[in-house]
Structures are given as structure tokens and as C-alpha cells.
């Protein structure tokens, strides 16, 4: 049985002195060793192992670690402590010793945050679901962003980065949901339709005015929530109760009239003016950030002109379709806007246009513009209904930039540079023209690699060829089929003869034309990052040789590109074999010349290569990524950021009709690959050595 008694003080001192090299560093370990000696054996081993690990990087850092770790050991569990260590080491790698020491010293803050986060909902983790949620709600598409203060400017809702108001994560998530719904309701049901600036200027106490207005408005929009989203309203009420937010009866009485569907923001304004000096507003609700009149006004003003001009443009196109004379005077009589449901449903936000009293179907863009305009103004003013004149075109005002930054034809002035966007999951938007991709030639290496590989896998290659041959396409007429297009006369004659002899009439009497054309184009995207150095790289190259040999028999069109790079301005793509190029000695030498480079910025590589793949005319197009780990790049393209961007790039490829697939040897891949590629679109090869044999098998399964 293992010895579980605590280590002797002397042993501890010896170990620490050795790791911390006290002879030269002059660090004092005795005092700390005493504390460690008093711990249980398990704790001791844990702590000492960490000290040793950190000391291998830096002795001073390890010494600081001992001082602080023994202090917090009781309040923090091991996994959490490990996270702290990892964070420290990352800081050390990236910013040097000075900052890393700071990180060690702030362990108390870390512990505090950690405990706080236990039941919290964290914006970064839930913003995916919440963004879909808010996009599903009617009206203008709103963006979500984390911010210091919770508020909305009518286009973006800013939310706290973390919510821990209640004990359970689920409830805190629901608080996010309610926060979003409340701010959405303010925008949707017209809280911001009346400019507040004049009232605030007049008022002696603008802050009080805003608070009271906000309180009246929340009563009004929540009545809408109760009518339109009753499930959410129930949740809101429950959370309110648990957060201790209650309104007294007096307040209920005052705001009663606002709960009617006919009530408008102007009614709240009147009430605010009337009661400003006589009553205290109830305590600010947690579910509404403070109204920021300036930011709201600025956003609305900026949007209004743009929307008006664009709407009139669209209207002009629409009227042309109906081939109506665009004589303004007569059109004004015939083109009308009406509220969909007499104005009292969904806040009167549903409007439609009628021409000669017939409703007209608006295209998607016009419909969402109309909704957005009505959200801002409350109705569609008559001057919006005047279609734009022929020379009235203000591209700057009326439209978003025409060019799509993703268009590969739109390149930076530098030749040979392809610019691609990148998805920032925190902002929930693309960073335009973010990555610069260049293609570099691979230096061919003419050595015995090819022969060696053939030799090593002789048996495997023969077998592969055989199995691939069986998949080869030909318009073959299959004979003696149970079903088919035509009668197989040979089989029929034989069968009839058999049956005359008293035998059984065979049922396989047809011929069938097999149409299984293999019209496939495949792109192999090979990870050339630094982490593949050594036998991963070797295995990759071997796998490619084997695959290429097998594919020769099959005749599928394929290309091999490597990718690597460092930071967004230096994404590198290495064409090893282009589509249309033959698999010859040069290509083999290039496969042999695949060398590990730096990092893996997968998103940019996927975007670039799916562009190339898309230009191939083929029935199915497959993008196979060969990788050894998570997307990772020097400039923060790691963790969730890298994964989310890669996932986006994969989704984009899929939208273009490409089937993305990933083969990886990363043992931890199960944690993130299903999220990246989808549950059935990846394979995990456990042993590096298996890769060459497995890859062709995977390919065969994938394409047959």
C-alpha cells in the first residue's frame, strides 16, 4: 500500500531547494516548507508537483506561487487552482515575467470571481442562443453586445458581461432573456418615438424625469409583453418576485391607463409631467437599463434619412413592376399605407401598402424596412410613399456598401493578396477584410520519401487500389437484376428453358443501367502548423501519398493545399496539387516537401479553399480537413474565438453546397469537433500511425 503519511519537513525543504536552485537564487524556503509539512499528503504532492512544473519555466514565479498558493489552498479546489496556474503561465508566455507576477499576486481576486461565477450566466457563453432569440422577435434585427452599462440605442442592446443575481445559472440565463425582451419591447412598442430632449431641457430635474418616464413606460410595454408574450411575462414576474422587485398599489393605480393597447409613449410623457413633483418614482427596475436619450436620438436620426431614401427607392422599383404610371398626383391617391389590424395588434406595428385598394406583396427588404420605419415613427408618413425620382439616387445614404468584402474578386491593392472576413462571436458580427491570405509555392523535395512510403505500405496500397476500383464509375449495364429498365434476354431465354424443364423461373431477368457517375471534386486541406512537427507531419505526408495513389484508380478530381501562417496579416496557403494538375513526380516531391510552419488560422483557410473548390463544376464537392488540433493563431485566434470563426467558415462553405469533413488526430477533438463540423462530419484517428491507412478508408466511406 502506498505511504499516505505526510512528507517530512526535511524532504520538502530538500525538494524545494533543489527546484528553486536556492544555492544561486538565494530564496528562503524554510518558512514555507513548514506550512507545507503541516498539510495532508495529497495536498503536499499536489502543491509540490505544481511548484516543480512552474519552476521549470521560471524560479521566481514558482517562489511567488508557493507564497500565494498555500494561503488560498483552503478556499479553492484543485481544478480551479490549475486554471489559475494555466492563466499565469499564459501571461508569462505572452507578456513576460513582470505581468505574470502580477497575475500570481491577484489570486484572491481570481478566487472571488471564481466563486461568483459558479451560478452565473456568462454573456459570452449564452450570446449564441440569445442572438438567435432576439433575431426571432419581430421588428428590426437587433444586435447584442456586452457592455459596462445595460441600455439600448435602438439597434444594439448592451448587456452585462455576467449575471449572478440569482443562485441558479438557469435563472440568470432567464434574466438575460427578460432583459433582452424588455429592451426589445421598448423599441418595438415605441418608447423612443418621442424625442425626450425638449422635455429634459425644460425639466428642473432631468434625472428624476427620466426615471419616472422609464417607470411609466415599463408599465406600458409590459402590458404589451403580457398580451403578446405571456410565457415570457410569467417568467419576468417570477424573477421579479425572487429579486424582491415589487410595485405598490398606488403605483399600479397611477399607471393603470397605460396598460390599455391604445396607450402611447406620449401618454407616459404626460403622466410624467403631471406627477414629476408630487411622487417618487418606484425604485429603478433591474430589467431596464437607464434610457440614454442622446445615444438613442443620434441612432434614430442617422437611420431615419437612410431608411426613407432606401424605402422610396424600393417603392420606385415596385411601382415599375406594376407598370403604373408614376404620375405623382394620381399615385398619391392610389398608393396607401394602412395598419394591419386596426392599429391595436402587435403595437400597431404591422403595416401594409395598398395600390388601388389591393394589398401589395412587398419584397423582404421593403417589408423589414417598413417595420423598422413604423417602429421609429409609429406610422408611415405620407412623404415616404412618394417613390424616388429617376435621378434621385444617393448610394451613400440609401444603401450599405454594395461590394461584399467576401468577394474574392475584391482584393486589396497588393496583388496576390486575398482578403477575407472573420467572425467575431463576441460582437456577433464579421470583421471585414480581416485576414490577408497569400499563396506560396511549396519547395519540392526530391528524396526517397515516395519510394520509402510505397515500400512501407506495399500491401495496403494494393488493397486500397482494389477497393477503390470497385467504386469506379462507368455507365455499366448490370445484368440479371431483379428490377431494371429492360429485359435481360439472355437471362430470360435461360429462365424459360429452365422453367420448361420443370425448374423454377428465375426472377433476375432485367438489365439496369448504372448511373452512379462519380462527379466529385475533393479538396484536401492539410494542417501545416508547428504542432505537426515530427511524426504527425510524416504521417500526413504518407497519408497523402497513399490517398493519391488510391485516387489515381478512381479518377475523382482532387486538390491538396496546405495551410499555416502567423496572425491575420500572414495567412499562408501552399498549393501542393491544384485541380487539373496531374499526380506526377513534381507533385510527389511537393508532398515530400510539406513542412510544419507556424499556426492554424482555420477560418481564413477554409474560406479561401472553399472559394477554389466552388469554381469546380461537380455534382458533389467535398472539403476534407486534415488536422491535429484546434484552430489556433498567434493573435488571440484561440479558444472560443477560433472555434466560432471556424464554425462560421464551415457553415458558409455548407451554404455554398460544399460538404466539409474533418479528419483529426487530436484526442480532445470530441469536445469541439461536433460543434465545428456537425455530429457526423468528422473522424477521430486515435493513433498517428493509423492515419495513412485510415484516411483512404474514410474517403471511400465518405464518397460511396
Amino acid at each position: 500500500m502506498a505511504d499516505t503519511s505526510p512528507l517530512e519537513l526535511q524532504t520538502i525543504i530538500e525538494r524545494l531547494d533543489h527546484w528553486l536552485n536556492v544555492e544561486f537564487s538565494g530564496l528562503k524556503t524554510g518558512e514555507h516548507a513548514v506550512v507545507i509539512a503541516a498539510l495532508e499528503r495529497e495536498q503536499q504532492e499536489y502543491l509540490l508537483a505544481r511548484v516543480q512544473r512552474i519552476a521549470s519555466a521560471n524560479i521566481q514565479l514558482a517562489y511567488q506561487f508557493i507564497i500565494h498558493a498555500i494561503r488560498v489552498l483552503d478556499t479553492i479546489d484543485h481544478p480551479a487552482l490549475d486554471v489559475w496556474i494555466a492563466k499565469t503561465m499564459d501571461t508569462y508566455d505572452q507578456h513576460g515575467l513582470h505581468q505574470a507576477m502580477e497575475t500570481v499576486r491577484t489570486v484572491d481576486e481570481f478566487v472571488r470571481l471564481r466563486q461568483k461565477r459558479a451560478g452565473a450566466a456568462i454573456f459570452e457563453q449564452v450570446c449564441g442562443v440569445l442572438s438567435h432569440f432576439v433575431h426571432g422577435l419581430p421588428g428590426r434585427q437587433l444586435q447584442l453586445r456586452a457592455g459596462e452599462q445595460c441600455y439600448t440605442d435602438t439597434e444594439t442592446i448592451y448587456l452585462p458581461p455576467l449575471i449572478d443575481w440569482l443562485a441558479s445559472t438557469q435563472d440568470n440565463f432567464l434574466i438575460y432573456k427578460c432583459l433582452i425582451a424588455c429592451h426589445w419591447a421598448q423599441i418595438h412598442y415605441g418608447t423612443f418615438r418621442e424625442p425626450l430632449a425638449p422635455y429634459l431641457q425644460e425639466s428642473r430635474n432631468p434625472e428624476q424625469f427620466l426615471n419616472l418616464f422609464q417607470a411609466f413606460e415599463s408599465a406600458r410595454v409590459e402590458a404589451w409583453l403580457e398580451r403578446e408574450l405571456p410565457g415570457l411575462y410569467r417568467t419576468l414576474q417570477r424573477l421579479r418576485g425572487e429579486l424582491g422587485e415589487v410595485y405598490d398599489e398606488q403605483w399600479r393605480g397611477l399607471s393603470h391607463a397605460l396598460r390599455e393597447p391604445v396607450a402611447q409613449a406620449s401618454d407616459s410623457l404626460q403622466l410624467t409631467q403631471r406627477y414629476l413633483d408630487t411622487i417618487e418614482p418606484p425604485r429603478n427596475s433591474l430589467f431596464y437599463g437607464p434610457i440614454q436619450p442622446d445615444s438613442v436620438q443620434e441612432t434614430i436620426e442617422r437611420r431615419k434619412e437612410k431608411q426613407k431614401s432606401r424605402f422610396r427607392q424600393l417603392l420606385r422599383n415596385l411601382i415599375r413592376q406594376f407598370q403604373e404610371s408614376d404620375d405623382e398626383a394620381s399615385l398619391a391617391d392610389r398608393l396607401k399605407a394602412q395598419s394591419g389590424h386596426g392599429g391595436h395588434k402587435d403595437g400597431g406595428n404591422e403595416w401594409q401598402l395598398t395600390l388601388n385598394e389591393e394589398p401589395i406583396a412587398l419584397p423582404q427588404e421593403a417589408r423589414s424596412l417598413l417595420t423598422s420605419i413604423v417602429q421609429d415613427i409609429g406610422y408611415l408618413p405620407d412623404d415616404y410613399l412618394r417613390p424616388a425620382g429617376p435621378d434621385e439616387y444617393e448610394p451613400e445614404l440609401s444603401q450599405e456598401p454594395l461590394s461584399d468584402p467576401d468577394d474574392p474578386t475584391l482584393r486589396a491593392s497588393e496583388t496576390g493578396v486575398y482578403r477575407y472576413r472573420e467572425w467575431d462571436f463576441r460582437r456577433q458580427q464579421y470583421r471585414k477584410n480581416w485576414c490577408a491570405v497569400r499563396e506560396y509555392p511549396v519547395t519540392p523535395v526530391y528524396d526517397d520519401f515516395y519510394c520509402r512510403t510505397l515500400d512501407k505500405y506495399r500491401g495496403v496500397i494494393r488493397q486500397l487500389r482494389k477497393s477503390f476500383e470497385a467504386m469506379r464509375d462507368e455507365q455499366r449495364r448490370l445484368k440479371r437484376e431483379a428490377h431494371g429498365d429492360d429485359v435481360d434476354l439472355d437471362a430470360l431465354v435461360e429462365a424459360l428453358a429452365d422453367s420448361h424443364d420443370g425448374g423454377e423461373l428465375a426472377d433476375r431477368l432485367f438489365t439496369r443501367l448504372q448511373h452512379a457517375e462519380r462527379d466529385i471534386a475533393v479538396m484536401f486541406m492539410v494542417d501545416m502548423s508547428g504542432s505537426t512537427r515530427g511524426w504527425v507531419n510524416e504521417a500526413e505526408r504518407e497519408a497523402l501519398i497513399l490517398l493519391a495513389e488510391a485516387l489515381q484508380t478512381l479518377g475523382d478530381r482532387y486538390a491538396i493545399y496546405g495551410f499555416s501562417g502567423m496572425a491575420r496579416e500572414r495567412c499562408e496557403i501552399y498549393p501542393v496539387k491544384k485541380f487539373g494538375e496531374d499526380y506526377d513526380a513534381q507533385v510527389r516531391a511537393r508532398i515530400g516537401g510539406i513542412q510544419p510552419g507556424d499556426y492554424t488560422r482555420m477560418g481564413a483557410a477554409i474560406r479561401h479553399l472553399s472559394g477554389i473548390l466552388n469554381r469546380q463544376e461537380a455534382h458533389s464537392r467535398i472539403l476534407i480537413t486534415l488536422s491535429d488540433g484546434k484552430p489556433d493563431d498567434y493573435d488571440n485566434y484561440r479558444g472560443q474565438y477560433g472555434i466560432e470563426d471556424t464554425r462560421r467558415a464551415v457553415l458558409e462553405a455548407r451554404h455554398h453546397g460544399i460538404h466539409p469533413y474533418c479528419i483529426t488526430i487530436d484526442k480532445e477533438a470530441r469536445a469541439y469537433l461536433p460543434h465545428l463540423y456537425g455530429p457526423a462530419c468528422y473522424t477521430l484517428v486515435r493513433e498517428v500511425a493509423e492515419l495513412p491507412c485510415k484516411i483512404s478508408e474514410i474517403y471511400r466511406r465518405l464518397t460511396s
Partner: protein, 271 residues
């Protein structure tokens, strides 16, 4: 045990009036095209009532309706016909298209883009003013009677770049575009189709609109009228609204975990 009836294609009359709620002038246009012997292309998103519309028109015009669901293995003989061996002799058997032509019925090719491109070509002579179906194997031309009508459906929304209708095919048809009906109409349809109360139907439709807002930003397609009918049916047999929306709508729309949760949050907000 219920009796399973087996019908020959030419006997496929729609006997009872199917419930179809006209949205615009599609019924009049179809009837005019039918009178003028023009083939019809019905396009629109999935589950918006294309097939129901065809059933309704078949009932209205009192013609048998022969539906062929197209798939990428559908060959020309599958449509036109082939020789089979019966009792030691070969016998010709008409395919559904040939039977429809002979019977003067309505042949409805559902999801036509799924069919192989060379298969689509066999309908070309039927779809222009020749109105004949060549049967190569027998060296025959079947001339379509006046009552015959060719119709096909197609969803322009989610087909890949490669699965598009060829111009030579699409330019032979009168095209009717379908979309999900307006809110009030869609509510009425669900009430009528499932017998659910109007308030719930209204909420379901509003829920559908929310998912349709998500089209393009994570969903390929919003909830169709058909899915709403499914959810309403589940509710009628006692399933709670949130579960019904989850199983009949959210899970049916997507496999993306985040999106399913978001759609569930939307439905739990409404009910």
C-alpha cells in the same frame, strides 16, 4: 382492421373536397392554364400548401391526380414505363406519366429538381404545344388528350447550386408562386385543419413568424404551415404547447443545439 385500398393511377380521383384556402388568384390562373393546355410550375417553400393546392385543383377539375415524388435515382423508364416479365412473356407496363397521359389526368411531379437531369428531358415534348409522350421502347407516341395536365413543384429556397431547374425546362411552364399565407389566413387554416382554438392558432402563427425571422441567420427555412398543423394536432391530443413546439417545430427545423434552444426560448415566451 381498416381496409387498405389499392388504386390504379387512373382511378386516383380526389373524391372529397380537400380543404384549401385560396390566397390570391391561383385557382383562376390554374384553371385558365388548364383550359389553354399549358403546363404549370408551382414554386414555394416547403409545407406552404403546394401539394394541397394540387389535390384541390384535381378535385375541382374532376381529374385523377397522379403524383410522382422525384428523387435522384428517378429514371426515364420509371416515368414512362418498361417491359416486365409475366408468366414467361414480356409485358409492357406504363409508368405513372404514361398512365396519366392515357387517362387524361393531372400528373404532378413533386420536387422536380431532385430528379436526374436526363429524366427531366422526357417531359419536354409533353410540356410544349406538341403535347406528346414518346415511348421509345415501343416506338410509340402517346398523344395527350385535352384533359391531361402536367404540373410540377419546386422549392427555390434550399436547393444547392447544382440542383437548379434548367432554363429549357422551366421556360415551358406557367409559374405560380406560393408563400406562407398572411397571418390571419394562416390562423384560419390551422383552426380549420386541426380544430384548435383560435387564440392558440394565432400564437402558433406568431411563433412561426418568429422562426421565419431567423431564416438566413441560422435557419435555412422558417416553420412551415404544415409544421404548425403538426404542432396544433399534438396540442389537441393533450401535449403541452411548449413540448409540442419543441418536438414538432424546433427539432424538425434544425439539429443545431444553440438554434434549438433559441427556438425553444421563443416558444416558451409565447405560451
Amino acid at each position: 382492421m381498416s381496409v387498405v385500398s389499392i388504386l390504379k393511377p387512373e382511378e386516383c380521383y380526389v373524391r372529397e373536397e380537400p380543404f384549401y384556402q385560396p390566397v390570391g388568384d391561383e385557382v383562376a390562373v390554374f384553371e385558365a392554364a388548364y383550359r389553354e393546355k399549358l403546363p404549370v410550375l408551382v414554386k414555394g417553400p416547403t409545407g406552404c400548401g403546394k401539394t394541397r393546392f394540387m389535390e384541390y385543383m384535381a378535385w375541382r377539375l374532376e381529374r385523377p391526380l397522379i403524383t410522382v415524388s422525384c428523387h435522384d435515382d428517378l429514371t426515364a423508364p420509371d416515368l414512362v414505363g418498361r417491359y416486365l416479365v409475366k408468366g414467361g412473356e414480356t409485358a409492357w407496363v406504363d409508368g405513372p406519366l404514361a398512365s396519366a397521359v392515357r387517362a387524361g389526368g393531372i400528373c404532378y411531379l413533386d420536387e422536380i429538381v431532385e430528379a436526374r437531369k436526363d429524366t427531366m428531358v422526357v417531359i419536354h415534348p409533353l410540356a410544349d404545344d406538341r403535347r406528346v409522350l414518346p415511348v421509345e421502347k415501343r416506338g410509340e407516341l402517346i398523344e395527350a388528350p385535352d384533359e391531361f395536365c402536367l404540373a410540377m413543384s419546386y422549392n427555390p429556397g434550399y436547393q444547392g447550386v447544382l440542383k437548379d431547374l434548367k432554363q429549357s425546362t422551366r421556360q415551358r411552364f406557367v409559374a405560380l408562386e406560393f408563400d406562407y399565407p398572411a397571418q390571419a389566413l394562416e390562423t384560419a387554416i390551422i383552426v380549420r385543419e386541426t380544430g384548435i382554438d383560435e387564440a392558440t392558432a394565432d400564437r402558433l402563427v406568431r411563433f412561426a413568424h418568429m422562426t421565419r425571422n431567423l431564416k438566413g441567420s441560422g435557419l435555412d427555412e422558417g416553420a412551415s404551415t404544415r409544421l404548425l398543423v403538426h404542432a396544433a394536432r399534438l396540442m389537441r391530443s393533450g401535449i403541452s404547447p411548449t413540448t409540442a413546439c419543441h418536438t414538432a417545430i424546433a427539432q424538425a427545423l434544425t439539429d443545431d443545439g444553440e438554434m434549438v434552444s433559441a427556438v425553444n426560448e421563443l416558444s416558451s415566451s409565447l405560451f
